[in-house]
């Protein structure tokens, strides 16, 4: 346990270039995940993001076997998956099961591909549980460029995207190109997911993309405030997770996910004490209105 809280060692490790590169990468990702998170939660896409991350792993594994850049493979896999999941109507009943079907097949394919790969074993595990300490400044630069592109597109699309996400029927009536925005948002989510996969790994992407936003919406229903809180939470989890993992040399993902989880629980408790947990409110005490039977 001593080693877990060895701050001298942590401070010494923070001097290293590769550690600083990792922190920078985490900061960029935290921003990206925090901004996208509330929209993903509003669109009810958490499971689709999980599936996207797994298929990003498959894409990365395929690139590894083919001798291509793993990051590139991860992005291709994630964008393809996000497009497929995004185009499935989230209103259809079998939405989640289709994701599960594709996800499990993709994961199995990825494992098979890695079995073919005869290189170093750490590369294999990296895609699943994260390998941020492998990033250098070149990849941080690439990551930042991708992040700036995603955030730039998001800034232009923000209002129509929010409208289409929460209220597609009225948004369509007001002339918002709802059907066009769906695949565009899917691509943004795909790119962000693929970038996150390289930091926290495919298995734990939800800790950065979903948990901070889910925690934020426990505290506020304002889209702007939820976004700011989600960014804050994602930054604390991503950067804090790396700093804490330095001294013990433990896997970063465990720390990122733990911090994320603790923040979520904190928000949940706070919301309970303020008496506005989702699902229990003064409004819900009023009689519920039955859904219309048709349409």
């Amino acid at each position: 346990m001593d080693k877990l809280f060895d701050w001298d060692l942590t401070l010494r490790l923070l001097q290293y270039d590769f550690v600083q590169a990792a922190l920078l990468a985490a900061a960029v990702l935290g921003l990206l995940a925090g901004v996208l998170g509330p929209l993903i939660v509003s669109r009810n896409m958490a499971f689709a993001v999980h599936g996207t991350a797994e298929l990003s792993f498959t894409g990365g594994a395929a690139a590894l076997v083919a001798g291509l850049n793993v990051g590139f493979g991860a992005i291709v896999g994630a964008v393809l998956a996000a497009l497929v999941f995004g185009l499935l109507s989230r209103r259809t009943a079998d939405h989640d099961s289709v994701i599960a079907v594709v996800l499990s097949f993709g994961l199995g394919l990825g494992v098979l591909l890695l079995w073919f790969y005869k290189g170093r074993a750490t590369n294999k595990f990296g895609l699943l549980v994260g390998q941020i300490v492998g990033v250098d400044f070149t990849s941080v630069l690439l990551l930042s460029v991708c992040a700036v592109l995603v955030l730039g597109v998001l800034a232009v699309l923000y209002r129509p995207l929010l409208f289409a996400s929460v209220d597609p029927e009225v948004a369509g009536a007001r002339g918002v190109p709802v059907r066009l925005l769906t695949p565009v948002f899917a691509v943004l989510v795909g790119v962000a997911t693929a970038l996150a996969v390289q930091v926290v790994g495919a298995l734990l992407v939800l800790a950065l993309m979903i948990t901070p936003a889910a925690a934020a919406c426990r505290l506020t229903a304002s889209p702007v405030r939820a976004t700011m809180l989600a960014v804050l939470f994602a930054e604390v989890a991503a950067v804090g997770g790396i700093v804490l993992s330095l001294a013990p040399g433990a896997p970063i993902s465990s720390f990122v996910t733990t911090i994320s989880f603790v923040i979520y629980m904190g928000c949940w408790v706070l919301a309970r004490s303020r008496g506005r947990t989702r699902g229990v409110s003064r409004a819900a005490a009023a009689p519920a209105v039955p859904q219309p039977a048709h349409r």
Binding site: R159, V166, V170, G175, A221, R278, A286, V289, H294
Partner: protein, 287 residues
């Protein structure tokens, strides 16, 4: 522009009342899917400030008519103009109130945000430049529907009536010239039905907004209806409630014996078959 009794009378025919071009102009409009014709040769002008109720059984093409006006569904034949433009171009001048359907409880949004989207949700960008005007407009719209009390609560947690008032505020923030309502009273209780129809009625009188109101139940809006468009099986009738909602006209439309009863100022349609929606229980939202 305000519609007085004489204008309403003029509007009862197909002629255009004085004071401006009709907001909706349908000429020989025909809509069909596959071999089935929903309606044929529909001529309809809706004047500014006019309230037209669209009635008919399920599947008679009421909602499709709204989709045509929104540019989401092309006509099979004929022409349509909305605010003088082809449909789809004029959507920014249209307010749309959908059927009451609970908003997803997962959406991260307050009542005021939902209303604000009606004002600028279709614009690109994050919307920092006109934030003051947005706030002023949203507050005014919320006050008009008496929704300031719950404007900061998550929309997913609001009751059906509260959500529907916000819908009306959302549709009206953009100062629409045309308001399209698709069964906005469905599954609301009687008190909320009255509130929502009164809000819409006030607006068309003060701002001259034309209203096309799809409903399967005319009674909640009977006192404010100028004209009725009744669609059945490819046929239709247009006229005042008295002209359309009588036994003779509806029997002819349905091609079978239909009795229209006037009971205590309400209209009840008693038909031979289940296709008559007016006879279905409509007080789903009552408790």
């Amino acid at each position: 522009m305000t519609v007085d009794r004489s204008t309403r009378a003029a509007a009862a025919g197909l002629s255009t009342p004085d004071g401006g071009r009709p907001v909706v102009e349908l000429r020989g409009a025909t809509l069909g899917y596959g071999g089935r014709v929903l309606w044929r040769d529909l001529d309809l002008d809706v004047a500014p400030g006019e309230f037209v109720a669209v009635l008919g059984p399920n599947g008679s093409g009421k909602t499709s008519l709204l989709r045509v006006l929104l540019g989401q569904q092309p006509l099979s034949a004929g022409t349509v103009r909305v605010a003088g433009e082809p449909p789809g171009r004029a959507n920014r001048t249209i307010g749309y109130v959908p059927q009451q359907r609970a908003l997803d409880p997962t959406v991260i949004m307050r009542g005021r945000d939902l209303v604000g989207l009606g004002w600028d949700g279709h614009r690109w960008g994050v919307g920092l430049s006109r934030i003051r005007e947005r706030r002023r407009r949203v507050d005014a719209a919320l006050a008009a529907v008496d929704a300031l009390g719950y404007a900061d609560r998550p929309v997913g947690l609001l009751s059906g009536g509260e959500q529907q008032r916000l819908r009306v505020a959302q549709a009206l923030t953009g100062d629409p010239r045309l308001l399209l309502c698709d069964e906005p009273l469905l599954s609301l209780d009687l008190a909320n039905q009255q509130v929502v129809s009164r809000l819409i009625d006030e607006r068309r009188h003060t701002a001259g907004t034309a209203v096309l109101f799809v409903t399967h139940e005319i009674n909640p809006v009977l006192p404010i209806v100028d004209r009725v468009l009744y669609l059945v099986d490819g046929r239709f009738r247009i006229g005042t409630a008295d002209e359309v909602m009588n036994s003779e006209t509806l029997s002819e439309l349905y091609g079978t014996g239909v009795d229209v009863l006037r009971v205590r100022g309400q209209i009840h349609v008693v038909g031979a078959h289940s296709g008559l929606c007016e006879d279905q229980p409509h007080h789903l939202g009552e408790h």
